[in-house]
């Protein structure tokens, strides 16, 4: 994340301030900071889940409870060391989170939060009603943590532990988001269609972030249990779960540091409101929720990115560019640290064979018995009037929306029933007619998503930065593809700030970053100016010369006729004609199809 990378300049003074804080502050504030730290760990999980992945959970408090209760029970009843109960709590949490994720994540997005509400409530009642967990009175007498014979009992000592954990989690999360898997997670927000076409296993990515968020909560719960040395169900209720989400949203749900800001703001505000509101209202009760609720509505209406972007605006960090991609030379040359390339099929060999492909939507026949081939080193254009079924055909071939009947074989393998991500793995890459870029991310990061399948470092490697060499190679590759597409100058701009025509070029660069044998381009020239179209045609010619097969849907006839080797005309889902461009332009049936007519 750009903001958080830049914020690193403030990291050192921040850590220094943390180091001296418990020495200078009175006990009350140390306790407050301890809670802020504990809450921020949970909120951080929500940042990843909600702000980055586009999912959400109201049940994080229940995960905190799982961590806390597991440790409380195992230490008091079975006398285990807290250092053993931490992994035990994490294990229990992971099992619950993965099963809950498996159950809900295949459904549309809102079923997960609804599931977490129900789950949050039932776990709360379970804690309160299980005799072994002490019922509503809870479990007391939890042993303190011990580090090298030293018991960590005081709040001041605990402060260092909590904030050390928090910093590790923050940095780990930041690293993770700035990695191959991190980009895959961020791609979830753009809908799973694009991510799947780039080879991302989206259900797995969703389950992973849901589980990681739950694990953060569990760690926080473990710390809480040994700080308080007493647990009861109250702090793990749904209300608290909702408050965690408020912290993340108010702080800035898309920003790692927003979690800390949000946890701090809400905790301090709550403290203050709990002192003042009962006096103002002349009654006692949890009236701060009124203010929190209204504050949330206000934030969602007026500043959906929360407070953190405002903080960065007040303290503009020194500009810093990422190191990996800028090392690339400005001239157009293959990357110096090449990624493995797949062997190219020989030019002229059969790449794609579509046989009698049909697609029906209810009674509507969108594709009717279409057959054609694409060879390596050839540009095949698919044209036809609106509604002829061209994009449907694209979706059928690339596995995004499988055919009703008929066969697709790609490089000798039947692919018509494979999911999009497996077809992508075989070397087919595509662009979308309606541009699907992550508008807030830079061009190069978007393009790097295309190279997803060419890296292999996972979440753990990313979190501890063991993936830097591979990342550098991925970014070199992305930078090279961007330059080939003529976008070198916009490499670090936010993709959404580019004009639509250029965004289409970014889509092509992203597809190329996958090192495809076959490229499916859906209206690549739309929105481009004349000279840009020329440049695009040149690029496609060069790709063709390299032996890549290209299947192209395009409306600009000048562009198509000047570029394509063969043209397939579709009308009403049927194959009207196939042939050389010149033949097609003279074909009376094609002229008829384009100009239409009633006798």
């Amino acid at each position: 994340m750009k903001d958080s990378t830049r914020a690193a300049a403030y990291l050192l003074p921040f850590v220094a301030a943390l180091a001296v804080a418990p020495l200078l502050l009175p006990e009350f504030y140390v306790t407050l900071l301890n809670y802020i730290g504990l809450y921020a760990i949970v909120a951080l999980g929500l940042v990843m889940l909600t702000g980055v992945g586009g999912l959400t959970s109201f049940g994080q408090a229940a995960f905190v409870g799982l961590g806390a209760y597991t440790s409380a029970y195992l230490t008091t009843v079975h006398g285990l060391s807290p250092w053993l109960t931490l992994p035990a709590g994490l294990l229990v949490t992971a099992v619950v989170a993965v099963s809950l994720g498996l159950v809900t994540l295949r459904l549309s997005g809102h079923f997960l939060p609804l599931g977490t509400i129900a789950w949050g409530i039932s776990l709360y009642y379970l804690f309160g009603n299980l005799e072994v967990l002490g019922g509503h009175t809870g479990i007391s007498g939890i042993p303190p943590l011990q580090i090298l014979d030293r018991e960590i009992k005081s709040g001041r000592e605990f402060f260092y532990l909590i904030w050390a954990v928090l910093l590790v989690v923050v940095l780990g999360t930041r690293n993770l988001l700035d990695s191959r898997e991190g980009r895959a997670i961020r791609a979830l927000r753009g809908g799973s269609l694009m991510a799947e076409a780039m080879g991302v296993d989206t259900p797995r990515a969703k389950i992973v972030i849901f589980t990681v968020a739950a694990l953060y909560a569990s760690v926080s719960g473990w710390l809480y249990a040994h700080l308080q040395r007493f647990v009861n169900p109250t702090p793990f209720s749904l209300t608290q779960g909702i408050e965690y989400l408020f912290m993340a949203v108010v702080g800035g749900v898309a920003h790692v540091w927003g979690a800390i800001v949000g946890a701090g703001l809400i905790t301090i505000l709550k403290q203050w409101l709990q002192d003042w509101l009962p006096i103002v209202l002349g009654q006692s009760g949890n009236f701060e929720v009124i203010v929190f609720g209204l504050l949330m509505i206000f934030v969602l209406h007026r500043a959906r990115d929360g407070v953190w972007p405002i903080v960065t605006r007040l303290f503009p960090p020194p500009a810093r560019r990422r190191s990996a991609p800028t090392s690339v030379a400005e001239t157009e040359s293959p990357p110096r640290l090449p990624l493995a390339r797949r062997p190219r099929p020989e030019s002229g060999s059969l790449l794609l064979e579509v046989t009698r492909a049909s697609k029906r939507f209810g009674g509507l026949v969108a594709n009717d018995n279409v057959s054609f081939t694409v060879r390596a080193g050839e540009v095949m254009a698919l044209i036809g009037p609106n509604g002829a079924g061209k994009s449907t055909m694209f979706n059928g071939i690339s596995g995004v929306d499988p055919l009703t009947s008929g066969g697709v074989s790609f490089r000798g393998q039947r692919v018509e029933s494979l999911p999009a991500r497996d077809i992508a793995r075989l070397g087919m890459s595509r662009t979308f007619q309606h541009v699907r870029l992550l508008t807030g991310m830079s061009v190069i990061e978007n393009v790097a998503i295309g190279a997803h399948l060419r890296g292999e470092k996972g979440f753990l490697a990313a979190a501890c930065r063991a993936d830097r060499a591979e990342e550098a190679r991925l970014f070199d590759e992305a930078a090279w593809q961007i330059e080939r597409c003529g976008l070198a100058e916009q490499m670090h701009d936010a993709a959404g700030s580019l004009p639509l025509g250029k965004q289409r070029l970014v889509e092509i660069a992203r597809a190329l970053a996958a090192d495809p044998c076959l490229l499916l381009l859906d209206e690549p020239a739309a929105g481009l100016r004349y000279l840009e179209k020329q440049a695009l045609a040149d690029l496609l010619r060069r790709l063709r010369a390299e032996g890549i097969g290209i299947l192209l849907v395009e409306h600009d006839m000048d562009f198509v006729m000047g570029l394509a080797d063969r043209v397939l005309v579709m009308e009403f889902g049927r194959q009207l004609a196939t042939g050389l461009p010149a033949e097609i332009q003279r074909n009376p049936a094609v002229v008829e199809a384009y100009l239409g007519g009633v006798e």
Binding site: G363, N386, G387, H555, V560, V591, L595, V598
Partner: protein, 254 residues
């Protein structure tokens, strides 16, 4: 049979006048400097190849997209406060390219909802209007109890048009009524469109099917990559070689 609501409209023949209209998606102009005019009782067509911006034009006119430039509708200059709802109330109706029917409702309910806004402001003549629409599209009468989602392509287009007529429009915007239809059905639909003209409603017809559109239109414009490149009496455009060129990329221009 009178589908048009013609109270207080005498003498004013220009229904829609557009000058210097531009629409942009992000930084790219999807439409640039469009100028056109539609008179009462006239069919005006905008033809052009795929991706020229035809649908964008209609969406902009009905208020679904923000625009720059002048739109004068029924003698009133449209300001920033324009909205789909307001334009619908003033008798502008769009039959969208995708039809946008209410699939799990009967044909008759779809038609009734076409008159929703008239019902809301107090008109209670829906039953008569529905009979008039059935006169125009007898097929809808036969299918009145059928769910809209189960209709054939041609019937869907008829329903979309019938639903629009229920609002008693002064200006009917038609977006590619021929889309995805077989030639015989297209002929039927277009014959109906030319009949509507006789009822006095102004029609702006956007079509890719240039010949069919020009055969029933009075006046035509050719839209190419966001700009109007050609205009004229439709009889003249029908034989203009440049129309063919713009469709098939034969011109070798630029």
């Amino acid at each position: 049979m009178r589908v048009l609501d013609d109270d207080g409209d005498d003498g004013q023949t220009v229904v829609l006048q557009v000058r210097g209209l531009s629409v942009s998606y992000g930084k790219v102009d999807a439409l640039h400097g469009i100028a056109l005019r539609v008179h009462r009782g006239e069919i005006v067509t905008v033809i052009g190849p795929n991706g020229a911006g035809k649908t964008t034009l209609l969406c902009a006119l009905i208020g679904l997209l923000p625009v720059r430039g002048d739109i004068v509708y029924l003698g009133e200059r449209q300001d920033a406060g324009r909205s789909v709802e307001k334009l619908v109330r003033q008798g502008m109706t769009l039959v969208p390219e995708k039809r946008e029917l209410f699939a799990e409702m009967s044909v008759e309910d779809n038609l009734l909802l076409g008159a929703f806004d008239r019902y809301r402001v107090g008109h209670r003549d829906q039953l008569e209007t529905i009979d008039q629409v059935y006169d125009i599209f007898p097929r809808l009468m036969e299918r009145r109890q059928q769910m809209a989602g189960t209709l054939s392509g041609g019937e869907r287009q008829m329903l979309a048009m019938g639903r629009a007529l229920m609002a008693k429009p002064r200006l009917l915007l038609l977006d590619e009524p021929s889309l995805g239809l077989a030639p015989l059905v297209i002929r039927e639909i277009f014959r109906t469109i030319s009949q509507l003209k006789k009822l006095g409603v102004a029609i702006l017809l956007v079509e890719q099917n240039a010949r069919a559109a020009l055969q029933i239109a009075d006046y035509g414009y050719v839209l190419e990559t966001g700009e109007l490149s050609l205009e004229g009496r439709s009889r003249e455009l029908l034989t203009d070689q440049r129309v063919v060129e713009s469709y098939l990329g034969l011109g070798g221009r630029h």
